[in-house]
Chain length 304, copies 2
């Protein structure tokens, strides 16, 4: 039942068409861990710099189930910083700046007491680092990796190497097209599975997600939010993955039906995350709110 995530902790600066937030807690690890923590304890392995605000640590510590034993503070280094601007429809964004900081150094070590982790999520980072991490977890039952366009461009062979070793891959629809040149999400996922994974989840943002698994296919819409409820889509994909992996770890099963169910938990958790900048909304809710929204979502998404 032990879930571990490794990825980035970031200091984000976000502009939306109507608002702006500077210096908020972000990064794949932060969103994933907060989201997963409603379902399961989650171990974080990540690095930050000496400039990391104590307020950001306090936010992560406010989640009961987030375990920061693998969070390394490097006094002489800078925390990864990322700035982005969303275009009018909130589905497209442009990166304004990327300051790698600690990401340009050695990856953080995995504490000995985390080496028994069974459920492992490799959030977006260099595929070479993802592969190295994997070797730390001999008891792994389910490993899922995320990736982004950058690695498809500059490290495709290494990324294909990752695919050989993971059980699941999760990526955006545009990235699935980029990797396979196939626009159909189901067919693109099958092509990716030829490289190794048992399943692929294609995230489609406001249009939901598709799961293709050796044992079946699943499709799920996004939570039908109103425009005013969507403040900042940053981290939605990581929160989705967190809710998903948190559910899988809590159930302790890795079959198709569990992963299909997990997508619903991921969807509703992500629907909260986008209601504010950073993790603010996730700090305000409890498991009961997520359960309640899942019931609402089941009613919204009833078929036939």
């Amino acid at each position: 039942m032990s879930l571990l995530v490794t990825g980035t902790i970031a200091i984000d600066t976000i502009q939306t068409p109507t608002d702006k937030a500077e210096g908020v807690l972000g990064g794949s690890c932060a969103y994933f861990a907060a989201a997963a923590s409603f379902q399961s304890p989650v171990r974080v392995v990540a690095a930050v710099g000496g400039d990391w605000p104590s307020g950001h640590r306090a936010i992560l510590e406010s989640f009961d189930n987030v375990c920061l034993g693998g969070l390394e503070e490097r006094p002489g280094a800078k925390t990864f910083a990322w700035g982005a601007r969303y275009l009018e429809n909130l589905n497209q964004r442009e990166t304004l700046f990327t300051k790698l900081g600690v990401l340009d150094e050695d990856p953080p070590p995995v504490p000995d007491r985390y080496l028994d982790s069974e459920y492992v999520f490799l959030a977006n980072t260099h595929p070479k680092v993802q592969t190295q991490f994997l070797s730390h977890f001999p008891k792994r039952k389910l490993v899922v990796a995320d990736t982004v366009d950058l690695w498809i461009n500059v490290a495709r062979p290494e990324l294909l190497g990752v695919l050989k070793q993971v059980d699941g891959l999760i990526l955006n629809d545009s990235e699935a097209v980029q990797m396979t040149e196939i626009t159909n999400a189901v067919t693109a996922a099958r092509r990716l599975m030829e490289h190794g994974p048992t399943f692929v989840v294609v995230k489609k943002g406001e249009h939901g997600a598709v799961l293709v698994h050796r044992e079946g296919v699943a499709t799920i819409p996004a939570f039908p939010a109103e425009q005013h409820q969507i403040v900042d889509p940053t981290g939605a994909g990581d929160a989705f993955a967190g809710g998903m992996m948190g559910h899988i770890a809590s159930v302790g099963m890795t079959n198709f039906f569990t992963i299909q169910s997990a997508m619903a938990w991921g969807t509703v958790t992500a629907s909260f995350a986008i209601e504010t900048f950073g993790l603010l909304r996730l700090t305000q809710i409890t498991r009961r709110d997520i359960d309640e929204r899942l019931r609402q979502f089941q009613a919204f998404a009833r078929v036939g």
Copy 2:
């Protein structure tokens, strides 16, 4: 339980990235009626020219529940003809030609015995014509109109007039944006409802559809087809509407839950329609195939 549709019968010429079909039966009325007929008898009111191939009539007549009593053949006129080419991903298309033919003349008359129709679908045509049609049906219980970008551009005031008189509006996501300048489907639908309709269905093609109704919200993914199963997306929206309205008419209820269920029937019927050019695939299947695919879809789209 009487369902009536008025719209176009067309002679279509379609190019896809891998194939081409010339002179196939198409048009909103044809796709709608064929799709609806698996659920309910459906009355067709439309006009064709003297050039209409007898083979096209035979195709429509092969559907047990399609009633052609309102199909007017005008020997001196030409059938509406339309040519289009799909781009690489099948989600974008460009119109190659549009020959209005009979569409440029008076609309077809409604036979007296159709005047008691209770469920009426106004497929895409000039909003002025849609309004005129409505006055024929004093016993109408549910009227749903479709529209396209052309009328939003050239006849917006008349289209707003249609919205005042119908129960439901169905349109593509791009058209919802065009009408409201709101990219969020739920919020755009609510804005459109301010003009009169009780509900709005926003169709999103491969991403499914969203229903916003005074009594609730529903969201449904598309059927997760493989790339090779999608031959020609033409008519998918009309087949969706046909399956939807056919279900509503067969149930004889117009509440939110019925319309939500109806979207699932629309989705699976449309998923067959796109497997071939024209109506071919719909001529090959029975109600049992649709029931079977609905069950499959329910499994694919299970939430939580």
